[in-house]
Amino acid sequence: MKATLMNPKQIIAARVAKELKDGDVVNLGIGLPTMVPNYLPEDVSVILQSENGYVGLGPVEGEIDPDIVNAGGQPAGIIEGGAFFDSLFSFELIRGGHVDVTVLGGLEVDAEGNLANWMIPGKMVPGMGGAMDLVTGAKKVIVAMEHTAKNGAPKILEQCRLPLTGKGVVDVIITELAVFRLTEEGLVLDELQEGVSLEMVREKTEASFQVNENIF
């Protein structure tokens, strides 16, 4: 896997894939997170949960069934061994800790593990959908996002400024530059992506963080 051949989104998706264990039940947000399964090694297979009501989300097989869509409303399929259920049960699974990992995008994340990704007041108010339940209930919350906004502004902040999706919910932040983990000691830089220096990360990160010495 040569990082030089990949764009930022691919680098992020590939790194997220390494966080998943064989047999994990995983919910992937819309966009970048849906690329993650492409980077799973052959001996790791995860079960995708779709919050609109099933486990075993897969690609469309054969003809499109208009009654099978993913959580973005796009045509999808179900793998053998999957199961459909209603929205109540879907969120019993999510809120009840039966989803091992949720991977979602972020507008802002902060040093306290807060996440903001559902609205920009006065501008973009799509609604939270299932995101607030996912970050509250999933055993492991991975935020997969580009390190900075399009204008270069940091997205990993000392404190989120946008309305929160969840408070103190984030476990891992994965960007094209680095991997951070939220620990009892606060935010820790746990890994640098290939060819990235600590200085580059510091420069593009507003939040203060500790550095795992093992990364060098």
């Binding site: 099978i68 929205s87 109540l88 959908g129 339940d133 929160l164």
Partner: protein, 218 residues
């Protein structure tokens, strides 16, 4: 009791200003022909409870676009830009509710609970105006029941007693809403005789269903 009714009779049980629920997720599992009946009957000032406002031309989307709603209680409006536009301009009241909480509130309304305590939304704007209750050291929000006058459901198959079977991911909110309405109308693709659905396969028992409209297709 005769539960079968024609699409033409649907408006007779709907009124301006009613609170309605509609099944569906991004339009999948939404009874679009019942939605059309509302549009054709020129109903207005409705309060709609639904997972999302779908797209401009599908699901419950046209109810927004054609200004039939006074208020919507929903988890997601991002795919129908008209909802956001009307919200920002003050034409439409929008109450955004986390999707799992929306499901819980509808279930509470349908099952006689006074509410549920959920951790979802603690520390966010969702907690505004809500009672916080600590159980075993963790904070929860008290989320209250939702009910409606008429629920509009879509099922794949019904028998003449109103027993329903949903198909694939078109199930979503439909079974929950069947419990939370004074009157339940279901648009079904296939109608079968009583006894043709195995009692283990019924997803919504007929005792909850008041009216069945056969609309075929998908």
């Amino acid at each position: 009791m005769q539960k079968l009714m024609t699409m033409e009779e649907v408006p007779s049980i709907l009124n301006d200003g009613m609170t309605i629920m509609a099944g569906g997720f991004m339009g999948v599992g939404t009874p679009e022909k019942l939605v059309s009946a509302i549009l054709e009957a020129n109903l207005k000032d409705l309060t709609l409870i639904a997972n999302d406002t779908a797209f401009v031309e599908t699901g419950v989307g046209p109810l927004v676009v054609n200004r039939r709603l006074k208020k919507v209680i929903t988890s997601h409006i991002g795919t129908n830009p008209e909802t956001g536009r009307q919200m920002l301009s003050g034409e439409l009241e929008v109450e955004l509710v986390p999707q799992g909480t929306l499901a819980e509130r509808i279930r509470a309304g349908g099952s006689g609970l006074g509410g549920v305590l959920t951790p979802t939304g603690v520390g966010t704007v969702v907690e505004e105006g809500k009672e916080k209750i600590v159980v075993d050291g963790r904070e929860y929000l008290l989320e209250k029941p939702l009910r409606c006058e008429v629920a509009l459901l879509k099922a794949f198959k019904a028998d003449k007693a109103g027993n329903l079977v949903y198909h694939r991911s078109a199930r979503n909110f439909n079974p929950l809403m069947a419990l939370a309405a004074d009157t339940v109308i279901v648009q079904v693709e296939h109608l079968v005789e009583i006894g043709e659905i195995d009692p283990d396969e019924v997803m919504t028992p007929g005792i909850l269903v008041d009216k069945i409209v056969v609309a075929g297709g998908c």
